[in-house]
C-alpha cells in the first residue's frame, strides 16, 4: 500500500536564510541543492558575471554632465561656465578658487574641471570631477 503524504501532525521545517538584501527581503535557501555546481562555484560565477556586466556598460561622459564647468582660458584665468550657458559666469586666478565659486553659484552640484596637467593614467585636457 502506498504511503500517504504527511498531513496530520505536519511540522513546519526550519528555513535556512541566505541573507538579507538591501531592500529588506530575507532570501531563503532553496530546498534542493544544485547538482552541477557547488554553492561557492555559483557564488563566484554570479560575481564574475555581474562584474563583467558592469564593465561592459559605457561610462557616462563627464563632458556632457549638466554641472558647472571650470576651464582655463588662454590668458591663464579659470572661467566658470554654468550648464546651458555659453559665456563664463565667473573668472578666477586659480582652478581651486574657480571651483569654489562654481559651488557657490550652483550649491548642491559637483562642478567639473578640465585637467591642466598630465596625471597618472590621464591626459591633459580631459575632464575630472574633484
Amino acid at each position: 500500500m502506498a504511503k500517504t503524504p504527511r498531513a496530520e501532525g505536519l511540522r513546519a521545517s526550519a528555513y535556512k536564510s541566505a541573507g538579507q538584501t538591501r531592500d529588506g527581503v530575507r532570501v531563503v535557501k532553496p530546498k534542493t541543492k544544485p547538482q552541477n555546481f557547488t554553492s561557492s562555484e555559483i557564488k563566484r560565477a554570479v560575481e564574475i558575471a555581474l562584474r563583467e556586466l558592469q564593465q561592459s556598460k559605457p561610462k557616462p561622459s563627464l563632458a556632457k554632465a549638466k554641472v558647472p564647468k571650470v576651464e582655463q582660458r588662454p590668458d591663464g584665468m579659470f572661467a566658470v561656465t554654468m550648464p546651458g550657458k555659453s559665456k563664463a559666469s565667473a573668472k578666477k586666478a586659480t582652478q581651486k578658487e574657480a571651483l569654489d565659486r562654481a559651488k557657490e553659484l550652483d550649491p548642491g552640484s559637483r562642478p567639473i574641471a578640465k585637467r591642466v596637467r598630465k596625471s597618472t593614467g590621464k591626459r591633459k585636457g580631459t575632464w575630472r570631477q574633484p
Binding site: 505536519l10 529588506g24 530575507r26 531563503v28 530546498k31 544544485p34 555546481f37 554553492s39 560565477a45
Partner: protein
C-alpha cells in the same frame, strides 16, 4: 460615544506555527516543457526574489518515490501555490491535452477544503492565458480569481508580484516593472554563469537554477546603488 481608534496593526508575521504548513513555501504547478520554460523560470525567480521558497515536482526527480505521492507531499508542506492551467492544447505526439495541472489544482483545493485546520490557510494564485477562458473547460472553479498572463512573461511577472504583495510578510522588493527590469538582467547573465561549467541554460537542473537565483538576488541587490549613481549627485559626507 465615539469608537476608540484602533492602533496600527503590523502585518501578520511569517513565523511558522507548530503543526502548520511551511509559511514560505510556494508550490509551482505548471507545464515543464520547453515552450513553457521561460514562464516557469520567471515564476521561480519572482517567488524567490520576494523571499519565498519555490517548490515543484522537479525537485524530487531523482528519488524512487511515486511521482503523485511526491507531489502530494509537496502540496501538504506548502502554504502557497501558483497554478498555471493555460496549457490546454493537445500535445503534438498524442494529440491529447495534458491534465496534470488541473489534477494538481484539484489536489490543492481538496487539501485546502478537507485538510482541516492545518491546511485551511492555504492560498493560491491561478493563471490562464485570458481571465475568463477557464469557464469553457474548467467552469467548476468559477468564483476563483484567475490571473491572465496573455502568453507574456512580463505580464505574468506583473500579475504574480501583485498577488505576492498581498501575502503576509515583511518587506517586499518592489512592483512588477522593477522586477521585470531585474529579471532581464538575470536572463542576460544566466548564460555567462552556465558557461563557467560548460553548460547551457537548458541543461540546468531545478536545484542549479534556484541556487543561481539565490546568489544572484543576494549579489545584485548589493549593486543597486552603484547602478543608480549619478555624476551630478553630491557625495555623502
Amino acid at each position: 460615544m465615539a469608537a476608540a481608534v484602533k492602533p496600527n496593526r503590523r502585518r501578520p508575521s511569517r513565523k511558522p506555527k507548530p503543526g502548520s504548513t511551511n509559511e514560505l513555501d510556494v508550490f509551482i504547478n505548471c507545464p515543464f516543457d520547453d515552450a513553457y520554460q521561460p514562464f516557469f523560470d520567471a515564476i521561480v525567480w519572482t517567488v524567490m526574489r520576494y523571499g519565498y521558497r519555490a517548490r515543484c515536482a522537479k525537485e524530487a526527480d531523482n528519488s524512487g518515490r511515486n511521482r503523485l505521492q511526491k507531489i502530494m507531499g509537496i502540496i501538504a508542506e506548502c502554504r502557497f501555490a501558483v497554478h498555471d492551467i493555460s496549457r490546454t492544447e493537445p500535445d503534438l505526439v498524442n494529440q491529447l491535452p495534458r491534465f496534470n495541472m488541473p489534477l494538481e489544482l484539484g489536489l490543492w483545493l481538496g487539501a485546502e477544503t478537507f485538510g482541516g485546520e492545518v491546511h485551511a490557510e492555504k492560498q493560491c494564485c491561478v493563471f490562464d492565458v485570458d481571465q475568463y477562458r477557464f469557464q469553457k473547460f474548467i467552469s467548476d472553479i468559477a468564483g476563483h480569481d484567475i490571473h491572465a498572463h496573455g502568453g507574456e512573461v512580463d505580464r505574468l511577472i506583473v500579475e504574480l508580484t501583485k498577488w505576492l504583495r498581498t501575502l503576509p510578510g515583511d518587506d517586499h522588493p518592489g512592483g512588477g516593472e522593477a522586477m521585470i527590469a531585474e529579471y532581464e538582467i538575470f536572463r542576460g547573465v544566466l548564460p555567462v554563469i552556465c558557461q563557467r561549467k560548460r553548460l547551457t541554460v537548458k541543461e540546468l537542473t531545478f536545484g542549479d537554477f534556484t541556487g543561481i537565483v539565490e546568489w544572484f538576488v543576494m549579489a545584485r541587490t548589493e549593486e543597486v546603488d552603484v547602478d543608480h549613481a549619478d555624476a551630478t549627485a553630491v557625495p555623502v559626507a
